[in-house]
Subunit: 306 residues, 2 copies
């Protein structure tokens, strides 16, 4: 059953013209994460590689392709967590870096802190020699079009949000049974400057514990935070629920208690995985035992050889 | 048993010359929070009032009296959560506001977001008409002395942190059985610019749910985040543990799993409360049924009429 990597490319309502790109991208990311195991990489290496691939893919709301804040700027959040030690690293509202997920990992490995925000995160990136990129290089025509559309007084912000919630994330278990998670996002379309969502918040935007499993969520960030979605799923698993049962219980609770929709990818240390969502769609892919599984709508589980 | 408010003024090792100030301050804050109930205030009103009193008191590491970051600046984190709806508001790395806890409440009540960080939080404060204060007005001689001492190459940062971990927090239940929590901090002494600790992270730096109770923690922020301490305590209470049992279980787990020390104040919706800590000391006070309880060392529970 080991190793395994499961990725998502965001939950919500994905416009038709974007769905194919999103589905192709998660398959590529799962393959990329899985390939890391062949060269002796850890679960942490695999999730960071998978998320890096999606950050570099403009089809997702993370890294290049991030949605714009109300002022037309890009501010990104990212989190990693290592199930061996519960070590975690995060950045929030960071600008002008190509791969926030790699910077989050550096916060975990190179500082005594867990989260750096805004200009402090940028300073740390410079100190680590991470290249500063032009903000323009992170912005796609699609992001700018959507930003402008949402500035119109008659725009429906809720509907617009549903159109592109494409936070990306990954969970993995390596051959030694170590679990890890990684999540990265540009946040909500036309968010206020400095808005921080669930992603960099441990227990909300991800959690990984070798004793239970790992989770990476996507969806309405504020709702995910209110129910600490990732930690909630692992609590259900601690009570004996499977990754699938635990995910469905927590997603149902989030819908009923705070009217929030979303989705998750989950693994346990034995390699049992789940990709579940309460939204209309979630692009996801899982790589295990030479097989790639993937889907977009409820009930889908397509397979192909890796 | 209702209403009740319980506050803490930080866990750690409080220097002798500061202990009296810290103990007097928590009694004043608990009285202030409790008084809110007499004029019809809610649990949320009570915790914000109690924390505001401690932010204004230079004896604590929150608001005026906050520790300084490595560059000698003040960056503050704060969180509120309302157990009725799970609504929450937070600010991280915010500068030049006297009462971050009030700004956190405004984020909850006046925006569609849950957390604003750094310059974005300042912009929001200006838009809300919150006065911008001089950074100097938040800095005490004591904070500056400790900052300078820690810049010395032979400083022991771990020992220094223990000396002043004085995050402040409060939990309350009002006569209707609604619970709320509030937590505010200047963070860690000589932290990197932009460091965000557990405080503004829902489930870590606080949690409130009418179905279970409310928690406000203090201690080593990175450890609190790794175990999502506040949510963990409420999960134990959901499994039938008392506030005291649940707190001790979670604090023991934090010590054993990630070598972290800290403390918490906890209430359940019936008004059962606990003030527990794994550190040497935690200044705390609780107001209930016309009595004030308070303590600093393990085993202490002094009482006086309110």
């Amino acid at each position: 059953m080991l190793p395994v990597v499961v990725v998502h490319g965001g939950a919500g309502h994905i416009p038709k013209d974007r769905a194919e790109l999103s589905c192709a991208g998660v398959r590529e990311a799962a393959r990329g994460g899985y390939a890391v195991f062949k060269t002796g990489g850890s679960a942490m290496d695999a999730v960071v590689e998978a998320v890096t691939i999606m950050e570099n893919n403009p089809a997702y709301n993370a890294g290049r392709g991030s949605v714009l804040n109300v002022k037309g700027g890009v501010e990104m959040d990212a989190l990693v967590m290592d199930g061996r030690t519960l070590a975690s690293g995060a950045v929030s509202a960071v600008r002008r870096v190509a791969n926030p997920i790699q910077l989050a990992r550096m916060v975990m490995e190179k500082t005594s802190h867990l989260c750096l925000t805004a200009e402090g995160a940028s300073q740390f990136a410079r100190a680590m020699g991470v290249p500063e990129v032009e903000e323009e290089s992170l912005i796609t025509d699609y992001s700018r079009m959507r930003w402008k559309k949402n500035l119109h007084p008659d725009a429906n912000p809720v509907e617009s949000q549903m159109g592109k919630m494409g936070t990306v994330g990954a969970v993995a278990v390596d051959a030694e049974g170590n679990v890890a998670c990684a999540t990265s996002t540009g946040g909500m379309i036309n968010k206020m400057e400095g808005r921080v969502g669930d992603t960099p918040c441990v227990g909300c935007g991800g959690y990984a514990d070798n004793q239970t499993g790992a989770v990476s969520p996507t969806g309405h960030g504020e709702a995910i935070m209110k129910v600490t979605l990732s930690r909630l799923i692992l609590f259900h698993m601690e009570q004996g629920k499977s990754p699938e049962e635990a995910s469905d219980m927590a997603l149902t609770y989030m819908k009923e208690r705070v009217s929030g929709l979303g989705g998750v990818v989950v693994v346990d240390p034995k390699g049992t995985w789940a990709a579940r969502f309460s939204s209309l769609q979630m692009s996801w892919a899982a790589a295990q035992q030479g097989q790639l599984h993937y889907g977009l709508y409820h009930g889908e589980d397509f397979t192909e050889p890796i």
